[in-house]
């Protein structure tokens, strides 16, 4: 990077670039915007960032991000403890919360099994999940990992664990998105949609 401003400003611009989708130009805009117009908000942002990076860890039960030992969802008593939804990321928890009527608890893998990348069962917390299954409270697991090969393999692996504990495991369905047109659906998705057809 060619130094154009003071070293501190250059550093700020460079640091902002760690955010997804932020290139040198947008980083520069963000830095100048904060410096020229939003000093207070900039300070709040820096405090919030510092505090979050320091304090936020993982929920002891579901492994999602949380600054407390248990996350907000795991603390809710009104949920059904017999159903557990397994997802890959904290963002998936929000997606399921907003987009479905699911009212059980979650388990967040923070990834998926990927032998080629060296990610094994323990890296995605399956040792922890196994302990939780052994407690006997869970009766059904909804495997909502992504519809990719790794997601499927992860789901299959967890389904096997469930079977060993005598727990029912279900996989979310594949298919054509609502409002979609068959003509424009990729053949892979369509093939899955046909394999998963049901009787009316």
């Amino acid at each position: 990077m060619t130094p154009t401003f003071s070293p501190l400003i250059d550093e700020l611009i460079e640091r902002l670039r760690c955010l997804p989708g932020v290139g040198p130009k947008s980083a520069q805009r963000m830095a100048f915007h904060l410096l020229s117009r939003e000093r207070d908000k900039g300070k709040q942002l820096s405090q919030s960032l510092a505090k979050s990076m320091e304090d936020i860890g993982y929920c002891e039960r579901c492994r999602t991000f949380s600054e407390n030992p248990l996350c907000q969802i795991c603390l809710q008593k009104s949920r059904d403890p017999a159903v557990l939804c397994v997802v890959e990321t904290p963002a998936d928890v929000l997606a399921v919360e907003q987009g479905s009527h699911f009212r059980g608890y979650y388990f967040v893998l923070m990834g998926h099994l990927s032998p080629l990348d060296g990610i094994g069962p323990e890296d995605i917390g399956l040792d922890k999940l196994s302990l939780r299954l052994a407690q006997g409270e869970i009766k059904e697991m909804v495997l909502a990992t992504n519809p990719t090969v790794e997601g499927d393999a992860t789901a299959h692996y967890i389904a096997n664990m469930a079977k060993n504990h005598g727990i029912r495991a279900t996989r979310i369905a594949y298919g054509v998105p609502i409002g979609g047109e068959l003509e424009y659906i990729d053949s892979n998705t369509l093939a899955h949609a046909f394999n998963g057809r049901f009787e009316l």
Partner: protein, 238 residues
């Protein structure tokens, strides 16, 4: 040197997210062997290639560029995805890990490609997974120039006989040994029956499948490098 690959059959072996919306792909093609490409923009929300660029989908790809990393310019599916599920899916991942380790970049591997496609087909049927994998591995060794010398005693030249025991070295071949069949066999000693069954590709009995696995694992090891195969460990813990 500029490389241009046009509408080449391919399979995706490995996918890695790259930058915000792109991905680095390892593809297996018949005429160029293993090809690494950047697929720009395929992780965008609207990308129509997301569902296509998946493992086990028969693809047609075009790419161009200089050096080892090319840019993907076109991809479409040739036919429906091979629907691997459950353990077959893990077998598929295992195959990919093996292929990534043995395939050279930009070197034609038409025969291995054809065999790989047949294996995918077989994995979708109700065949014994182990049998399919062992025969593929044997053929893979053959294509790499290391055909297993399974037919005769390498010292005497006599044909292998089912009821004898043989010490087998993947490079030197089989040598008859005289030890009791009752005790557990040493790591590199096999029953003649197993060698013959593997030579003929008739792997039915479990004991023969176990021997074949032991033998091929030793033969394949030098080609896979020192790191253990993750998918093998995963399969074991399944």
């Amino acid at each position: 040197m500029k490389t241009t690959i046009t509408l080449q059959p391919a399979y995706l072996l490995h996918y890695r997210a790259y930058r915000d919306t792109s991905a680095l792909l390892d593809l297996f093609t018949p005429e160029y062997g293993r090809v690494s490409v950047v697929a720009k923009g395929i992780r965008r929300e609207k990308s129509s290639l997301k569902g296509v660029l998946q493992p086990f989908v028969p693809l047609l790809i075009s790419c161009q560029g200089k050096g080892d990393l090319l840019t993907l310019t076109h991809a479409e599916s040739r036919s429906a995805v091979w629907p691997l599920a459950g353990e077959a899916l893990f077998s598929g991942m295992y195959l990919h890990e093996v292929l990534i380790r043995v395939l050279k970049r930009m070197a034609p591997e038409t025969e291995i490609f054809r065999a790989y496609e047949l294996v995918l087909k077989a994995l979708t049927r109700q065949y014994t997974l182990e049998k399919v994998l062992r025969l593929f591995e044997k053929y893979l060794l053959h294509c790499l120039g290391y055909t297993l010398p399974l037919y005769q005693d390498s010292q005497t030249g006599h044909p292998i006989e089912a009821e004898f025991l043989y010490h087998f070295d993947p490079e030197k071949g089989a040598v008859k040994v005289n030890i009791s069949q009752k005790t557990e066999l040493p790591e590199d000693v096999y029953r003649g029956a197993s060698l013959l069954a593997l030579a003929r590709g008739v792997l039915i009995e479990n004991s023969i499948l176990r021997d074949a696995k032991r033998l091929i694992r030793r033969a394949l090891a030098p080609h896979l490098g020192p790191r253990p195969l993750n998918s093998r460990l995963l399969f074991k813990s399944l």
